[in-house]
């Protein structure tokens, strides 16, 4: 059965201040890579916007209104040192969340086996009431809640291999035993959360990696911490917060993963989903700031999704 790719030119329209690494070129690099012949078999769909009720699956009503009303007609409004809004941000961010929901819909309806959403802005740093770290709405959290509310899914596992800890996702589900959050990330590094001692209600699993850790160290941590946790949880859907900034080329971190390490992790996640969730995997782009490392890693990741 097929793999769905959700992406859209609208994601190029959220512009950022000069020098900011989370930039439209990231999606141009991915689009170029996934236009190659090996990806012809992908089912491709454009983005859809999440409405405000959907955003409130993971965010406070006041926060959604704040973001809606903060969008300037011209120029930029900074929400934190990394995170600025311009005229299109509100619309584009709603399309990123809506595309994650669309991917959940298509995977859970069985029309595709799994899905990758190449969208921006990313989501995993966004908390219930706070934009930070390039993120406005927590796409993974909204997708998980959508699966539960609209599809009757009970247990959702979110696996996050972005090199930064997904503080937002962890915080949103910190007291929710129906959602498991398991993360590998460099520590110390932004945002500072993600210690092993942060365990939620037994549903949070953090596997911090020291600066300079390579693919072997990543695989060991993933095998020892993430895989057993997800196996024990027996999710009905697996969502991946797929950041590719643990790549050795990435300028924002110092881990040393290669494309084949992301391919390996993808195979492991697919096997987990096969054991518990009928193979259902929805993967959402988070970070990844070296254009070559990002494009090559996404190609390796999506290539494995297509083999499932």
């Amino acid at each position: 059965m097929a793999t769905l790719l959700v992406t859209d030119p609208i994601f190029l329209e959220h512009l950022v201040l000069p020098g900011q690494p989370e930039r439209p070129d990231r999606l141009r690099a991915i689009a170029q890579s996934l236009a190659e012949e090996p990806f012809d078999a992908l089912v491709r769909k454009g983005a859809v916007a999440a409405d405000e009720d959907a955003l409130m699956l993971a965010h406070d009503e006041d926060y959604v209104a704040l973001i809606r009303d903060a969008a300037p007609t011209e120029g930029f409004v900074r929400l934190d040192p990394d995170t600025a809004m311009m005229s299109k941000t509100w619309t584009v961010a709603r399309h990123a969340a809506g595309s994650a929901m669309l991917a959940v819909d298509d995977v859970l309806s069985g029309s595709v086996k799994n899905a990758f959403v190449a969208a921006r802005p990313p989501g995993h740093h966004a908390e219930r009431d706070r934009a930070m770290g390039f993120c406005f709405f927590n796409n993974a959290a909204i997708a998980a809640r959508h699966a539960q509310r609209s599809h009757g899914i009970r247990r959702v596992a979110i696996v996050d291999w972005d090199v930064h800890h997904g503080n937002g996702t962890q915080a949103i589900f910190y007291e929710d035993p129906t959602v498991l959050y398991a993360s590998t990330h460099q520590m110390p590094l932004y945002p500072g959360t993600g210690a092993e001692s942060e365990r939620g209600v037994g549903n949070i699993f953090n596997a911090p990696l020291p600066p300079g850790a390579d693919g072997a160290a990543f695989r060991t941590a993933f095998s020892r911490k993430v895989i057993p946790a997800v196996d024990a949880f027996q999710p009905e859907l697996v969502i991946v917060s797929a950041g590719f900034d643990a790549h050795w080329r990435d300028p924002l971190a110092s881990l040393k993963l290669k494309e084949e390490d992301f391919a390996w992790a993808t195979v492991e996640v697919l096997a987990l989903a096969e054991r518990h969730a009928g193979g259902r995997v929805v993967s959402l782009l988070e970070g990844g700031y070296d254009l070559t490392g990002l494009a090559d890693s996404v190609a390796a990741h999506v290539g494995e999704l297509m083999k499932a």
Binding site: P21, D82, M132, P188, L189, Y190, L252, A253
Partner: protein, 81 residues
Amino acid sequence: MPDLVPVETLTFEKALAELEQIVGRLERGDVPLAESIAIYERGEALKNHCAKLLGEAEARVEKIRLNADGRATGTEPLDVP
């Protein structure tokens, strides 16, 4: 990151003070994502510089002790069975 003084030119006191400032920022979580790695690497360089200066100071102390002693007893291999 603003223009920074090269780590190797800093005195121990200045390097330690900057390191403490960095640790404080990391602990408070007020480091931007885009700068986090640069700040971490600066902290690592400061830590290594402090460790190097401490090591050199220790070596000097050792030398003084040995000179005062008149004999190199401190570096003689221990005659342990």
